[in-house]
């Protein structure tokens, strides 16, 4: 994504939101960025094709498809990750010759067509950060990973910001029967299916890293199959792909096993400075702390908010982890609350990381409720006050203080 006008940049942005920001998406992943930036009740202006029905005097109706620019007030946003398409629906708020005020329209944002965005309540720190990431330079090819087990394969594309499951291959592998070797055929047809799907859904014209992960021997055998197929078809590209493919161990063929895959030393070596390696490491740190149960790690909106208000997430190791899914569909009031949390942590000197909820690390955080924090000092009973009824304000303050003193 970049600014339509090359002279514009982040520094020239008007944070109050009164003047629009004009952006031009260039890659499919920019649609994902747009998904983060466009929120309900914002104003969006983009190119649209509107069906206009005109009735002539003879009673014959003609419908024309007209190209216009429409400005709508956003009501809902729908993002399709597999196709990387964004549909924004809302009501028209600027009349023109074809549409009247208040009519509904759904804008499909297209690549290489600029759009203009007016944020409803201005650009806060979180949305500025997202915009910054959106206009940053593209950092190379997405990695392709196939997580498989016997009879199941998940073909995923791991980009900087999201992990998209491109396709799922399932096959029924007949079990061995006494004396027969029919199961050999079963697995081979499964590999065939998987290879065909892989070549169809992921574009390999540019060389990109390919990861094969499975429990047992499935990934190894699949790579062997790829090599033999490459030789049989004398397909140089396929042979090279098979040679460069990295086989990693995972415990299952389900998508969430990608976690273990991304932690493995082979992947770490090749993808050291990518965003997801950092996020995975952070989530591991959080999990370790939670296991230790030393009061320095908490998850869930209420405990984390209390911890931050107290200033426990600050200089010296305090980290606030929030999923960006949190910010996408919140109403204005709640969004302000959480943006304030992020700002407070930054003020206190701690680290506030907005995790991409479409990566495996974000999925793990999602399972915990979408928000978690590592504190600089232990607090032990941030969750106990939920059970007690009434007297929340004072009691929680007292309890928190006590907790702080127990160190």
């Amino acid at each position: 994504m970049r600014f339509t006008n090359p002279k514009h940049s982040l520094s020239t942005l008007d944070p109050s939101g009164e003047s629009p920001v004009s952006l031009l998406p260039t890659t499919p992943e920019d649609m994902w960025h747009a998904h983060n930036l466009i929120a309900p009740s914002d104003l969006l202006r983009a190119h649209a094709i509107r069906k206009v029905v005109t009735t002539g005097s003879t009673g014959s109706t003609t419908s024309d498809r007209v190209h216009t620019d429409l400005t709508i007030r956003v009501q809902s946003v729908f993002f399709d990750p597999a196709a990387s398409s964004l549909h924004v629906s809302g009501t028209v708020c600027q009349e023109n010759q074809y549409v009247s005020l208040g009519q509904h329209h759904t804008l499909d944002l297209e690549l290489n067509r600029p759009f203009q965005l007016w944020k409803h309540s201005g650009w806060d720190s979180v949305s500025l950060k997202m915009l910054e990431e959106a206009v940053a330079e593209d950092t190379g090819e997405a990695m392709c990973a196939v997580v498989m087990q016997e009879g199941l394969a998940n073909i995923c594309l791991i980009t900087e910001f999201q992990t998209v499951v491109k396709q799922r291959v399932e096959a029924n592998i007949p079990k061995k029967r006494a004396g027969g070797s029919a199961s050999q055929g079963g697995m081979t047809s499964f590999y065939e299916k998987t290879l065909a799907t892989l070549l169809r859904t992921v574009d390999f014209s540019q060389p990109r890293p390919l990861l094969l992960a499975s429990p047992g021997f499935v990934a190894q055998d699949f790579r062997g199959y790829m090599q033999s197929e490459g030789q049989k078809r004398t397909d140089k590209k396929l042979q090279r792909m098979a040679k460069d493919a990295v086989v990693v161990h995972s415990s299952t063929g389900y998508v969430h096993s990608l976690n273990e895959v991304l932690k493995s030393p082979e992947v770490q070596a090749t993808m050291r400075d990518k965003r997801f390696t950092g996020e995975t490491a952070l989530m591991d740190q959080l999990y370790d702390r939670l296991r230790k149960d030393d009061g320095r790690a908490w998850y869930g909106a209420k405990p984390v908010e209390r911890a931050v208000k107290e200033g426990a997430v600050g200089r010296g190791g305090g980290v606030l982890l929030i999923n960006n899914k949190f910010f996408r569909s919140l109403d204005i009031k709640t969004r302000k609350r959480f943006v304030a949390l992020v700002d407070k942590v930054k003020e206190d000197g701690g680290e506030a990381r907005v995790l991409s909820s479409d990566h495996e690390s974000g999925q793990r955080l999602d399972a915990l409720g979408g928000i978690a924090a590592i504190l600089t000092y232990p607090i032990y009973d941030l969750d106990e006050d939920e059970v007690e009824e009434g007297g929340e304000g004072e009691e929680s303050g007292a309890a928190a203080e006590e907790g702080a003193m127990i160190i």
Partner: protein, 568 residues
Amino acid sequence: MARHQNIRNLDYEAELEEYGAFSDEEEEELSPEDQVRMREGTAQVLEALGVEAHKVPKTQIEESLWHYYWDVDKTITYLISKYIDPPKKPAKTAPPKTAPKQDVATAGKKSANVHNKKGSSSADGVTNQVSQLKIDDTPLPKSRNLNVLSEFEKQKGKKTASFVVVGHVDAGKSTMMGRLLLDLNVVDQRTVDKLRKEAEKIGKTSFALAWVLDQRHEERSRGVTIDIATNRFETETTSFTILDAPGHRDFIPNMIAGASQADFAILVIDASTGAFESGLKGQTREHSLLIRSMGVSRIIVAVNKLDTVNWSQERFDEITHQVSGFLTATGFQPKNIAFVPVSGLHGDNLVRKSTDPAASWYTGKTLVEELEASEPSARALAKPLRMTISEVMRTPQSSISITGRIDAGSLQMGDALLVQPSGEKAYVKSLQVDDGEPADWAVAGQNVVLHLSNIDPIHVRVGDIVCDPAKPIQCVDTFTLKALAFDILMPMQVDVHRGRLHAAGKIEAIDAILDKVTGKVTKKKPMIVKPGTVSRVRVTLHSKVPLEAGQRVVLRSGGQTVAAGLLE
């Protein structure tokens, strides 16, 4: 000219009237005699249907009467099968004679599309009245309406039992079982010699006996068991089914599938120096935990490879002491644990007592004697039919055949079954029990092969549940589990395993920590659950899966077992 208003406003009704009326001819053409017959027939049908008559539309009665040429009996049977399904299981209703079969196929109608929604009780009234009527011979499998339970009582053959063989990788499970089968003459020496020659070719001579069970190409070339291998043998008192499980961590889901089918377990331990200790850190412990979680209460520990330590009694005692320690801690009762020193390769103490002088200090039972002494658990014969599908294949008898163990209930040839989660109905064309013998019926505890008809193979997969259409199992995507944690639990992604069924899901929330002994709530909504504690957790799955309360489920994450428990 399709846009011309004349064309667009054309009144088709008026046009067609010119060509003569196509109104319903049937009724107008009924002769007076036919009308009388129709009236009488309808009256008779309504009388016979009695209380259920409101379910059948009158037009349908008339049509069927016309179709069957005024045969009231046939009409009634057809209408019952179409609108009011009688119970299919004779074992369920008290008088076995009043249970006419529902698979009456008429005029090419696919009965498979009929879903039975009613329970058996309300159909009793109808079936009692209809019991005197004849039933058509049908193209679908004919059931003999046996009372399966009484047949089973009458037969009183050998007991059947299944046991699963578990243990750390390379403990010698497959080899031991191969040797057992050889010594019991289930497999002859010539076959083993042939296997040995083949094994030599790829340099795996020592695996020759294991190849009796490991038949897959990958298993043989790599020298590992990947999936459960089943085999059978009989002694004087019992007919046993062996389930040889894999020992590798990666294949634990397959081991869970095997353990869910077993009545008791044999834990194989490698007694050679160093191997025992590494096994303890590895799968020996995890397998024992899983076995206990699956509800197996009797375990026989076979201390293997003692010939490598010269049948040292101290080594045996040391191992016995340590293992019984953690087995009792896991929850096995000491009287249900037995220890047998064996050598799987040479066959000592498997079927015959050891002839090695160094082993003369052992005077207990051999492995087979221990197995015979074990009592299989009570079978749930009277409960609704539940069977887990462990294999799906094509055979000469049918385009789709399934294998599995009947967990509860009973079935017979000609029965209608419901496959969940697809919800499709199928009919049992024929069935085989215990290694290929054709039979008419089967009960809980038996491993059967069912040949099905009237169902599309894509609806049937390994891990699906076959159940009684009258009392189907529900498909759920969230459930509550009372689980014992083996590792720290918090809301996280897990794999859910129940027998052959494996699904991905996540722990949505931890409701409460419960007291191990009393079961009362000690802490609500905890952040994490420490290992060794019992808690109530809510799990959501990514897709709907057939589960019901009382089943045992295992949760795994990151290659380790994190919890196991009972569904609520």
